[in-house]
């Protein structure tokens, strides 16, 4: 099948984008809908069900077991319940901000999917500033959180929103510097090019993580900072149940609550995909060619590319869940200490070392 095996870059997305019945750019709408469907499917299956099962395993429980075999249909039942719920808006809430808050939040987490190369044949928009865009567009999420927190007219919500924004704005700095190290190794901000530069017959040995001994430092810094950016434990003080009920979404119920959760799972995959693309080769197969047995060539291609990127993303999401059920929550001052006095200086050190390595080591 040439459609599945084509070697030209971005064939799938260009084929979809050029679909224009009656001159209407319908293909572009379909192109944008594909990541949306992906987020919905993955958060339904791996996100919610997987997290409940993994947390149950960590705590020596069974997790959902009632609906379907091993509780596999539990999430569908939950969705049906959420759809039927009454849409409650508190009387004293700011109606407009309360309603648009979750929407802005979800759009913020969804916009970065435009530049994620899901496969050599598929990327939403092949920007030459892709990585910069992916870091910067998170700003919209911050505004969505503030709208939700302020609009709820609730002290817990406002405190949660303020904590969350302070945390995201602070951790953006080490995260951006760490990703800059990856961009410096590639010499480009184009996500598709960054991925292509890491391909080769030796598989994982071409990934930037294994290309220089320094790359481990920005990799770890970005992973820690990305946990804080998506408000996951041990940095989940914006929704700390023991202090703030549920943080900025205390007042939300029904589908609005579901949208906020979808946004959280959306940004979890987004940061996992970004770390896989910059440091772990994105859609490249990690398997090397062994002698005459071309294992790397066999496991490369458009469809395999999508498989590898999604699997790498899922691996990091698993680590995020694992940490959530293992580590205790940080205090606010510890959080800021970690960001400004530990991660940021180390990010600068790794930045300088990467620059020296790139200039003097061939």
């Amino acid at each position: 099948m040439p459609f599945l095996m084509g070697n030209t870059l971005n064939v799938w997305s260009q084929a979809i984008a050029s679909f224009q019945p009656m001159g209407l750019p319908l293909g572009l709408v379909i192109l944008a809908a594909i990541p949306l469907v992906f987020i919905a499917l993955y958060s339904l299956t791996y996100g919610v069900y997987g997290e409940r099962k993994i947390s149950a395993f960590m705590q020596d429980r069974l997790g959902p077991m009632e609906v379907g075999k091993w509780g596999i249909l539990q999430t569908l039942a939950d969705i049906l319940k959420l759809i039927q719920k009454e849409d409650i808006v508190p009387t004293n809430a700011d109606k407009f901000l309360f309603v648009i808050g979750p929407g802005v939040l979800f759009v913020g987490s969804f916009l970065a999917y435009a530049v994620l190369p899901f496969s050599p044949a598929f990327i939403g928009a092949n920007l030459n500033v892709g990585l910069f865009y992916a870091i910067g567009i998170v700003a919209l999420e911050v505004v969505g959180i503030l709208a939700a927190g302020w609009g709820s007219n609730n002290k817990w919500s406002l405190y949660g929103a303020v904590r969350s924004v302070a945390q995201i704005v602070s951790y953006e700095i080490p995260a951006a510097i760490a990703l800059l190290c990856g961009a410096m190794m590639a010499g480009t901000l184009d996500m598709q090019k960054i991925t292509m530069l890491q391909s080769g017959s030796l598989g994982f040995a071409h990934f930037y993580l294994f290309q220089s001994p320094i790359a481990w430092l920005p990799f770890l810094i970005y992973f820690i900072a990305s946990l804080a950016e998506v408000n996951r434990a041990p940095f989940d003080i914006p929704e700390a149940e023991s202090e703030l009920v549920a943080g900025y979404f205390t007042e939300y119920s029904g589908m609005k609550f579901a949208v906020i959760f979808l946004a959280e799972y959306g940004s979890m995959f987004m940061v996992s995909a970004i770390i896989s693309i910059v440091f772990l080769g994105g859609w490249n197969s990690p398997l090397p060619n062994i002698g005459s047995f071309a294992l790397n060539d066999l496991t490369s291609g458009p469809a395999w590319g999508a498989f590898w990127l999604i699997m790498k993303g899922f691996f990091f999401i698993f680590v995020q869940m694992w940490l959530r059920w293992t580590l205790p929550r940080l205090r606010v001052d510890q959080l800021m200490y970690l960001c400004w006095k530990v991660l940021t200086p180390f990010a600068f050190v790794s930045f300088v070392l990467t620059a020296i390595w790139e200039i003097y080591v061939p």
Binding site: Q20, L28, N128, A139, V143, L158
Partner: protein, 173 residues
């Protein structure tokens, strides 16, 4: 995409920018003004994309939405009495205001229509814009770039000094 689609999308973004900017100015609720600024900034970023300056567009989003808008929202939300007290927003000095507005808009339109049309660059752009910006910042404009960074560092240190709780002079009480 056809030309018509481009035109439609352009006017859509232009309308979003203008209407949200108008809402920022005319709304009597400070919070709504601040949130409306979000759409103005995004509309402006979209207009940059139409000028094929995508680096500037993303920088616009990072600096204005991620930095300035969040700062404004924080400032507004931490001002406790902002929703109780009525901010003074009466319409005063109508005649001088309109005269000033008409003069400024007239002058701008006059220069716009009498001056030359767009001046295309003599050299066409080759390769990626980001690369070009990077080279120029690190070679021809390296002095202004470094001066800006020193200024920002000084501002950072000053802000950290002002925000400290224990000032050396405050110890006696």
């Amino acid at each position: 995409m056809s030309n018509l689609t481009y035109t439609v999308i352009f006017y859509l973004f232009a309308a979003i920018t203008v209407f949200s900017a108008g809402f920022v100015v005319f709304s009597r609720n400070v919070i709504y003004s601040a949130f409306s600024l979000l759409f103005t900034f995004f509309g402006a970023a979209a207009l940059y994309v139409f000028l094929s300056a995508d680096f500037i567009a993303v920088t616009q989003v990072v600096v204005y939405v991620g930095g300035i808008l969040v700062l404004i929202l924080f400032g507004v939300m931490f001002t406790n009495s902002i929703m109780q007290s009525k901010p003074k927003s009466d319409i005063i000095n109508i005649v001088p205001g309109i005269l000033l507005l008409a003069a400024i808009i007239g002058a701008l339109l006059f220069t716009f229509y009498t001056s030359h049309s767009w001046m295309p660059s003599e050299t066409t752009l080759q390769g990626s814009i980001v690369q070009r910006i990077g080279f120029e910042t690190m070679s021809r404009y390296v002095l202004p770039f470094e001066m800006a960074s020193i200024l920002l560092l000084a501002a950072l240190i000053g802000a950290a000094y002002l925000a400290r709780f224990e000032k050396p002079g405050n110890n006696e009480h």
